[in-house]
């Protein structure tokens, strides 16, 4: 092992103080960068602390003051690009404010609630951010542990929630497809316990109805925002007797699966099939062809979650309990007018009207 003996105690503030010839309190002030110490003395103390390798004992600090600059984050789907992006933003904001982030991740969506974890997190952190769109129980456990909680896309908005404008985003995606001339549009929905999946689906329905088209239940396939699910769902849609000419996937990952299924079926995108995703994860621009999608400012949402939490901690209650971010339509290479040779219905002459980014209504937050 290392050369240090396992039981080597770390130096305490008392030792620093003794070496510096000051009281423990003065040392504390210096080490914590607080006023009330002369520059002269402060430098001395800092130097000595560094020399003997002093680092604050957080357990003691927490016990004495009740605080520690740590934010907890519960999540799942660590492999999901959404989560990664979100955490990236959260970590950035935390860092800027001088906080650390501690993570707890579920391994499976339906893993049973572990009280131990919520307690651990609640005690190690001043507040926690919950990116568990389908689990209300964790929110409850955390709230019961008495720390402020910020949720992300939570179904029942208890406490503060960060989300994007799912409905208008999805609606815009559908309008794009409809304006291109598509009349049979498939939709792959996410897990029905997730609020965003429901919202996006509602927008799909409304958009179809708005244009006076008929809702065909066989055009809506279940999925779960994942690529394999998108693949399977798309394969089923494409095997329909009267297949869609476009597919609106509830998430970019699912859309990537659609692309894969289209290739496997020998279909060209966008010539034979148009595909729209949702999220604008980094991979979307890298896909073949690059994916037309609805962008949500994921990284910014992560930052906002932390800043909102910090505000709550500081006693500043955000104006609104739910902060909604606007979305943008990003037109790339996966959408085009339907192919008259393939399209089941009458070939329409299409005009790509909204070639630019459409922004859904901005909703005030923070």
């Amino acid at each position: 092992m290392t050369s240090r003996s396992p039981n080597h105690r770390s130096p305490t503030l008392d030792e620093v103080a003794a070496l510096a010839g000051v009281s423990r309190m003065t040392a504390s002030r210096a080490v914590n960068n607080r006023p009330g110490v002369s520059e002269q003395v402060r430098e001395d103390i800092l130097r000595i602390a560094k020399e003997i390798g002093y680092v604050v004992n957080r357990a003691a600090q927490k016990l004495a003051s009740g605080g520690t600059r740590v934010i907890g984050l519960v999540t799942i789907y660590l492999h999901s690009p959404f989560t990664t992006e979100f955490m990236s933003g959260a970590a950035r904001a935390a860092r800027t404010a001088g906080y650390e982030i501690l993570l707890y991740s579920l391994l499976e969506p339906d893993e049973k609630l572990r009280e131990g974890v919520t307690q651990l997190l609640a005690q190690s952190a001043l507040g926690v951010i919950s990116v568990l769109p389908h689990r209300q129980d964790y929110f409850a456990a955390l709230a019961a542990a008495n720390v402020p909680v910020i949720t992300v896309e939570s179904a029942q908005a208890a406490g503060f929630d960060i989300r994007c404008d799912n409905y208008n985003g999805a609606r815009t995606a559908m309008r794009h497809l409809l304006d291109l001339g598509h009349r049979r549009i498939g939709h792959i929905i996410g897990n029905e316990r997730i609020a965003s999946a429901l919202e996006r689906r509602r927008a799909y329905d409304d958009a179809v109805i708005e244009r006076g088209l008929e809702l065909d239940p066989s055009l809506v396939e279940k999925g779960d925002y994942s690529q394999p699910a998108g693949f399977v769902a798309a394969r089923r849609l494409l095997a329909l007797p009267h297949p869609p000419t476009a597919i609106f996937a509830g998430a970019d990952c699912a859309a990537l699966g659609v692309l894969e299924a289209a290739h496997a079926a020998g279909l060209r995108v966008p010539e034979d099939l148009s595909v729209v995703g949702f999220d604008d994860i980094p991979q979307a621009a890298q896909a073949h062809p690059p994916l037309t999608t609805i962008r949500q400012p994921i990284e910014q949402m992560g930052r906002s979650a932390v800043n909102t939490l910090l505000a709550v901690l500081a006693g500043i209650e955000p104006v609104s309990p739910v902060i909604t971010f606007p979305t943008d339509l990003i037109v790339r290479g996966s959408t085009a007018p339907p192919n008259p040779k393939r399209a089941g219905g009458p070939a329409r002459k299409r005009r790509t009207k909204p070639r630019c980014r459409l922004t859904s209504a901005a909703v005030p937050g923070q």
Copy 2:
């Protein structure tokens, strides 16, 4: 918010004791499931504790006893299937032993060392597992913080290390390809700071030489175990004047990128190109075609990391400082003998010059 006032103190052991009419110490024994309390009294205490919602204050517990049943995990590439699998195994083992796992994740590979984090982790946990194959500095910082550390695939085996038999695994992959009759085999290596990448590459070289073939540097492309990197590397290999008939990718993710590149180039796998990966991540079996690969027992390695740590904590030093797991060749659908029509001959009707850049698609300005 919740109905609890933000400053509502949680109940303490003293309160439980008072209500039960016993001393604080007896309550502590009961709550911690320790001997020295009569069944009668114990039940009483437990009931009361539950009623008033007592939960132990970990900071106080840690301060008093120096311990807390938590292990830390530092990692990066949360999105990588390897990491996910590994953590899954680690979490399982920890749970079984009654420990919790706390995670800290780097966002970028080269993020500068954050002392705060290592201190936080070292203090919140009894020991930590480091899945940072390319960062020696975190190991050092953690070791300096005086907690036992178990590393995974660490370059310099300082302390205890968990790894798989990279050399023999890669060697087996190459033998499989060579036995199939391939003579020009491409290789995509991982980040050169990662020990496993170096080992796998060494096996590639040795296998080629073993069969009396010539090492062609142009057949070895840099990558980083990721799918996009695999895609780019494969595209380059396939554009060679004398392209390989098989590619051994250093990781399954990279192999997935190879598959993608092959499809994009109109090549069939395995008829026109054989592909072998490494890892056997869950996606490997799901690929089109399913991927032939070298399996390493990732989940089991995660469990082993935790169990090794627990052993060290208990004062039982593992027999060897490095624990190596064996690998298996899993033959699926992505490998076959070389296609005589394609093999050997110089590049087909493919010009080396103007390949269109696939990544030049419009990306929205932030």
